[in-house]
């Protein structure tokens, strides 16, 4: 039915109406690209439709309106020749036997239910594929195939040809460690929960006050049963707390886990003693319940942003393989095998894997991720090219002078800041509170024991009181407050486009007293520029000619020019030529046009950032291209500089790798020239942050690329501003969606509120403990009171923390 309707409608459209591509719903430039009465914006989209149509997969278009992925700006489908290399294949495959293989691809283009449907029907497009499963949140597809009938490369090419180009990186698929960890935590919670529920059942007679006469032998059996149930809780579920406490003792740092483990041990040992001497029922229900609650808190605070990664290093930015020229043939070689003197071929939009010297071709290298330089750099044969740059023009040949590991950029990763600092991840707030509680518990316990034993001479009550204090003044409320309160705040922020790595970072965000910005892509917008034409006003015909010409080129400036010219229609172009690094020329409507640099159009003036237009012998003028500051910059800077509220201003610095061409635009934000540094290399940025820290400052740093990765890692809180969180983001503590930048002051206020709530809940916890202590010091803590008081205080703490957090969020994000 659906197809029939479409058939009847499509050809009847008059040419004045806007034609929409059947595949990607973009506007069609003309009505010339037609297949089966449907219009398409480009040959790429038409091809996808034809592939799907011949395989009876057009249901794709019915499931979701916006299904198709536009292929208009893709010049060619990558060949993936390196996937035929056995070594690379072996690294990527999860499983391989002679008849079956399994691979997981990351497909950044996946966006709707139609994508899932099409990708899971991949076997229709390639008979060698036996099964395909999609994980939508992770944007991954796991493909099983028969290596005799198809190959890894065929599948990758097929995926690309239908619009889902796989992003093949060696490092981003090794996230199984976190999955395993989370699974283990789940199992620990299950064991603790199971034991908790059943020990409570076993304690049921005790709760209702049945005495030993009625159920004497049962009491013993239930007691032993409880011990059997509690053992796996102590040995398996609570294991990590003991390990962490032991590490704390070894490194002589009192952390929150030490008083926690003291409470665990006191609970367990006293219960065992009571049960085996038949003097009581013990507190094993409280013990299992406490462990269960604590583990649940741990689970809650480990919010995972399945699509995001905070640990990416340069390896996930670099390609997997490079095309090396050997005896006149092109061979794919894994990048870590590249050596000095290898000759590699780098095509358009590919990244240079190692430092080298350009031998053939002219290169236009986009170093924006490496140096922060926003404009492509022209490189001539014989000149040096550095790793990390992206070639924008045609294919070039580069003779390597260094291997990847020794290249200028990658050497930065050998810096100490990138070494893992284990054991230092615990929250300062929890540690301080833990320290305080440890001493409080020990002091109170000792006092009570001294009173009963020394003063009254009653050793039995002395031991009772001492252990009861250890149990009651258990820091569980403290240990629960941070995971639940701050975990909740992380979730709230995540929903609003600000993704924090872990709960400790909420504290870091609440306490900073210096801010460092990197310019490119953080303060300025990456893909948007302000373009103004300077010169005599252009006639509509001239605009058509300029746009037609620019439309032929994939260069970033040409693309921006097309966007600027908006709805201007295009005309056919003949004799089109693109001169790498200079400009483009062609004949439109019988007039020869040049668009490009001053040299290219032979203008007398010379100025970078200008795109000149020449028609025939006349220079019409130039387009001036300027960076645009991010929206909300006023607000954010006003906040930091204490203008919005009566607060102490925080020093704000600019450390940019770019030249100072935008200094004038930045100056109003930063106040004075002194706080703005330009032409800073990656190491300079890192040193700058280190210097601030040595002066006792806590540094909040904003960055976006490889060039500031070291500084981000060194800073107390490194935030990456990302226009597309799927793209490369270096190692950092938080990722902020670019369009949420103006909300930054609210996010900071919310994290401050979070820390405040935690402190308040500590105060409430002290109050609760005072009640418990009054029972404990008198040596009259019954299991029933413990079983009620402890979960009640813990749960009320959780509710308090989360409720206050939600309330604060509602206030700040109204």
């Amino acid at each position: 039915m659906y197809l029939l309707e479409q058939n009847a409608k499509a050809p009847a459209l008059p040419p004045t109406e806007i034609l929409v591509c059947y595949h990607c719903h973009d506007k069609c430039p003309d009505d010339k690209i037609v297949s089966a009465d449907k219009h398409f914006c480009c040959e790429g989209c038409k091809m996808v439709y034809e592939i799907l149509n011949t395989h009876d997969l057009c249901n794709y278009y019915n499931l979701d309106e916006q299904a198709g992925v536009s292929l208009r700006h893709k010049n060619s489908i990558p060949a993936f020749t390196y996937l035929d290399n056995a070594e690379i294949e072996a690294q990527l495959l999860e499983f391989k036997s002679p008849t079956a293989a399994k691979i997981t691809f990351y497909l950044p283009q996946m966006h709707c239910i139609s994508c899932v449907w099409l990708l899971e029907h991949l076997s229709k497009l390639d008979k060698g594929v036996t099964a395909a499963r999609v994980n939508f949140l992770k944007k991954q597809v796991t493909v099983q195939y028969n290596p005799n009938e198809t190959s890894l490369r065929n599948i990758a090419v097929l995926l690309s040809s239908i619009g889902y180009e796989p992003d093949i990186k060696l490092s981003n698929l090794t996230d199984s460690a976190t999955t395993k960890q989370r699974r283990k935590l789940g199992a620990q919670i299950a064991v603790a929960g199971f034991a908790f529920g059943n020990i409570m059942l076993f304690s049921f007679p005790e709760y209702v006050g049945m005495d030993a006469q009625t159920y004497g032998s049962y009491a013993r059996i239930f007691g032993y049963g409880s011990v059997i149930l509690a053992l796996p809780v102590l040995l398996y579920s609570a294991k990590d707390y003991f390990l962490s406490a032991w590490q704390g003792i070894k490194s002589k740092r009192l952390n929150i886990d030490i008083p926690l483990c003291l409470a665990f041990l006191a609970l367990f040992l006293r219960s065992i003693w009571e049960i085996f001497t038949h003097t009581g029922a013990g507190y094993l229900d409280s013990f299992a319940g406490l462990t269960f609650l604590l583990l649940t808190g741990k689970w809650f605070q480990q919010t995972t942003w399945s699509r995001l990664s905070f640990e990416r290093d340069y390896k996930s930015y670099f390609p997997i393989a490079a095309a090396v020229k050997k005896d006149g043939l092109e061979v794919a070689v894994p990048v870590h095998r590249l050596q000095a003197n290898d000759i590699i071929i780098v095509r358009s939009q590919e990244i240079i894997p190692a430092d080298g010297i350009l031998t053939i071709g002219t290169a236009d290298i986009d170093y924006s991720f490496v140096s922060g330089e926003s404009e492509p750099v022209r490189v001539l044969p014989g000149e040096k090219i550095y790793a990390g740059g992206k070639q924008l023009g045609a294919a070039i040949e580069v003779t390597l002078v260094k291997s990847m590991e020794q290249s200028h950029l990658t050497r930065l990763w050998n810096n100490d800041v990138f070494e893992d600092k284990k054991g230092q991840t615990l929250s300062a707030l929890a540690d301080q509170a833990g320290l305080f509680f440890s001493w409080l518990v020990l002091a109170l316990g000792a006092l009570a024991a001294l009173y009963w034993w020394g003063y009254k001479g009653d050793m039995h009550t002395a031991i009772n009181a001492f252990t009861a204090i250890m149990i009651v003044v258990c820091p569980c409320t403290i240990a629960l407050s941070i995971p639940f309160t701050l975990g909740n705040i992380i979730r709230i922020m995540g929903k609003r486009g600000f993704y924090l790595k872990n709960v400790e970072k909420v504290e870091a965000l609440a306490n900073f007293d210096a801010v460092v910005f990197d310019k490119t892509g953080t303060i300025t917008q990456v893909h948007r520029h302000e373009i103004d034409f300077v010169g005599a006003a252009l006639s509509p015909e001239q605009k058509i000619r300029i746009k037609s010409l620019a439309n032929q080129s994939a260069h970033p400036l040409s693309r921006q020019l097309c966007v600027k010219l908006g709805d201007v229609p295009t005309a056919p172009v003949t004799n089109f030529e693109e001169f790498t690094g200079l400009g483009i020329s062609g004949v439109v409507d019988g007039k020869k046009m040049w668009v490009g640099s001053a040299d290219f159009v032979q203008a007398d003036t010379d100025s970078s950032g200008h795109v000149y237009v020449r028609e025939g012998a006349q220079i019409l003028g130039y387009y001036e291209v300027r960076s645009i500051a991010r929206t909300g910059l006023d607000r954010v800077f006003g906040y930091f500089r204490g203008l919005t509220r009566k607060r102490k201003p925080i020093p704000v610095f600019l450390v940019s790798g770019d030249r100072d061409k935008d200094a004038a635009m930045m100056q109003p934000y930063f106040g004075s020239e002194d706080t703005m540094l330009f032409r800073q290399g990656p190491q300079d940025k890192l040193n700058f942050v280190k210097n601030l820290q040595q002066k006792g400052r806590k540094v909040l740093m904003f960055g976006d690329g490889l060039n500031d990765a070291g500084a981000l890692k060194q800073s107390d809180m490194g935030i990456v501003i990302s226009e597309q969180s799927n793209n490369f983001t270096p190692a950092c503590d938080a990722i902020l969606d670019a369009d949420k930048f103006d909300r930054l002051p609210q996010f900071i206020q919310l994290s401050k509120a979070g820390v405040r709530i935690v402190k308040q809940s500590y105060a409430v916890a002290l109050l609760y403990n005072a009640i418990g202590i009054s029972y404990a010091v008198s040596g009259t803590l019954s299991p029933l009171i413990a079983a009620i008081l402890m979960p009640a205080s813990s749960i009320s703490m959780v509710l308090f923390g989360m409720g206050m957090g939600n309330w604060a969020a509602r206030r700040y994000f109204r």
């Binding site: 939508f136 999955t179 076993f202």
Partner: protein
């Protein structure tokens, strides 16, 4: 009254069954992806019989 104690023992066995099935499901990867199955169930598989 003693029946309660018997029932407690039975309930322990039932709970043990659930614990084991949870372990099985977790190991089987059933908690890995809680989004895609919800989409998958909307697909109409009309074509399987034709092949």
């Amino acid at each position: 009254m003693h029946i309660i104690f018997f029932l407690i023992a039975v309930s322990l066995l039932v709970a043990l069954g659930f614990l084991i099935s949870f372990f099985w499901a977790s190991r089987n990867g059933q908690f890995e992806d809680d989004c895609t199955p919800a989409m998958r169930m909307l697909f109409e598989e009309k074509d399987e019989s034709e092949e």
